[in-house]
């Protein structure tokens, strides 16, 4: 099948995916709230308060937040709460419990947003309306050279688990650095400011990860236990990413190439942690072949769905309806609204044009296009012609 891409398709896809993301207002609120959590925990631990104590990890740090399809489009933000003391001085259970105690104090202090507190396997969750802060208690990993390495607790495992979300995020950002820099420059010029907040830049890799995560969430609705982990999707997508195309091309290409970065050593599937070669992100597939099979089946379906999104002249309604089944109703509607809104805005500015002989609407008329000379409104709502 010949792949069809177009500006309109990329606009629809880009705005659809961006409606899965955290909004700037939500982001500001989330940052303000986790800073308060950080101050409260620092007080509890009697540490010198600094921002490094509680910091975002996972999708918040990677710029790949994807609203939770199964929980009303709510947002999960993962935080590390690092207590700076050596592991010999505290047990896993005590670290976890003590963090819980500190967070309970925080909740009882009636902070803004009135969060409630729940305990999970590895982390504590602060529930706010519309979003959740998952707080992962951790200690610095003094056994390795990296200053950002941590060890974390797990109620199901006896040994401390090592992790390094900061180094992982640095790896991820390095993969997409070129596109990131290019887009940052374009955005700075457009916004006419020198310092654009880096989170305002979205690369095609970040958007592809968001699209894949949402597709996964819908695909595994009935079989949540088989759902491939976000870290696996993110890692494989970053390996498969080559950059240099438009969003749809990159998404399609990544989806096509992702499975080839899963290796098999004759006994187990391996998705290597790029910053800790000894760690296998696909550990949980071991002894559960149905999980690996589900992954490969899913990625094939995602590929077919993305391929089938559009063809020339099939109708914008067809594309929006397909987007609704692939990404959900809200992103599809937002995409339709944005594509319409873009044309309305150009017309209001007097910059709408259209292609000679085709009627193709263009936001920026060129010499080869006909300019729309006047603004207008669609006023009539059924009735006789004037």
């Amino acid at each position: 099948m010949t792949r069809f891409s177009s500006q309109t398709l990329n606009e629809l896809l880009g705005t659809g995916i961006s409606s899965l993301d955290i909004t700037p207002a939500e982001r500001d609120l989330a940052v303000a709230r986790y800073k308060k959590v950080a101050r409260s925990l620092a007080e509890h631990w009697d540490n010198a308060p600094n921002d490094g104590l509680v910091y975002p990890q996972g999708s918040m740090r990677l710029g790949t937040i994807t609203r939770n399809y199964h929980r009303n489009d709510e947002i999960d933000i993962d935080l590390v709460a690092r207590r700076d003391q050596p592991k010999q001085s505290i047990s896993q259970a005590d670290l976890k419990e003590d963090a819980g105690l500190g967070l309970e104090k925080f909740v009882l202090s009636e902070p803004e947003g009135s969060p409630t507190l729940d305990e999970g396997k590895r982390c504590w969750t602060l529930n706010y309306a519309g979003f959740h802060l998952d707080v992962l208690p951790a200690l610095p990993n003094l056994a390795v050279r990296s200053g950002t390495a941590i060890i974390i607790t797990d109620t199901e495992l006896v040994r401390w688990q090592s992790s390094n979300p900061i180094a992982y995020a640095e790896w991820f950002h390095k993969v997409m650095a070129k596109e990131f820099e290019d887009k940052l420059i374009v955005l700075s010029k457009r916004m006419d400011i020198a310092e654009v907040p880096t989170w305002q830049v979205k690369t095609t890799l970040q958007q592809a990860v968001q699209a894949l995560k949402r597709h996964r969430d819908i695909y595994f609705t009935e079989t949540l236990e088989l759902r491939p982990a976000s870290i696996i999707i993110t890692t494989l997508a970053a390996h498969a990413y080559q950059g240099g195309g438009d969003l749809y091309e990159v998404l399609d290409d990544i989806t096509d190439r992702m499975p080839s970065y899963v290796s098999y050593d004759g006994q187990r599937y391996i998705v290597v942690n790029p910053i800790e070669r000894g760690e296998n992100f696909a550990d949980r597939w071991h002894g559960k072949p149905e999980r690996a099979e589900a992954f490969f089946r899913w990625i094939e379906q995602a590929k077919a769905d993305f391929d089938g999104l559009a063809s020339a002249g099939s109708g914008i309604d067809t594309v929006i309806s397909k987007m609704a089944s692939v990404f959900g109703e809200r992103p599809a509607r937002d995409a339709g609204r944005a594509v319409s809104g873009g044309v309305v805005a150009s017309r209001r500015r007097g910059q709408l044009g259209y292609g000679v002989g085709t009627g193709a609407l263009l936001a920026a008329p060129t010499a080869a296009t006909r300019r729309v000379s006047r603004d207008h409104d669609f006023h009539g709502h059924n009735g006789a012609r004037p």
Binding site: Q7, I316, G336, S340, G359, H376, F378
Partner: protein, 135 residues
Amino acid sequence: MAQQATGLRSVFPGADLVLKAYSLGWTGQLQPTDLSRVYTVRIDYKTRRYPAVRVLAPELIPTAAGFLPHTYDDGSLCLHDVRQWNGGMLIVDTIVPWAAEWLLYYEVWLATGEWFGDGDASTALPTHYEDLPAL
């Protein structure tokens, strides 16, 4: 009238145009975006009247209740307020691109049930809109 015809011919040389002393009929194809369908559109214009625009093919799809947004009883498209067009304006610079816009918003409406062509809420559909009887 001749000016209107010249304008349309210069932009759509392949379209069908019949020019008479006091009227003009134009049938051409419009595709507002590369994803959109190609629509065959007919414009009929008589002196001192507003141009009437109809979509000949593919057939427009109303709701189950027979409703199509921004159309008149006779099936023609509503593209402007009465004050927004007069005979001194070229159809090719107004009615034609407005029809292309209509077709874009129409396809989005088909999928979402919402008309996003008006920009701001003050010109959004009136609330009784949903309850209009079938034609």
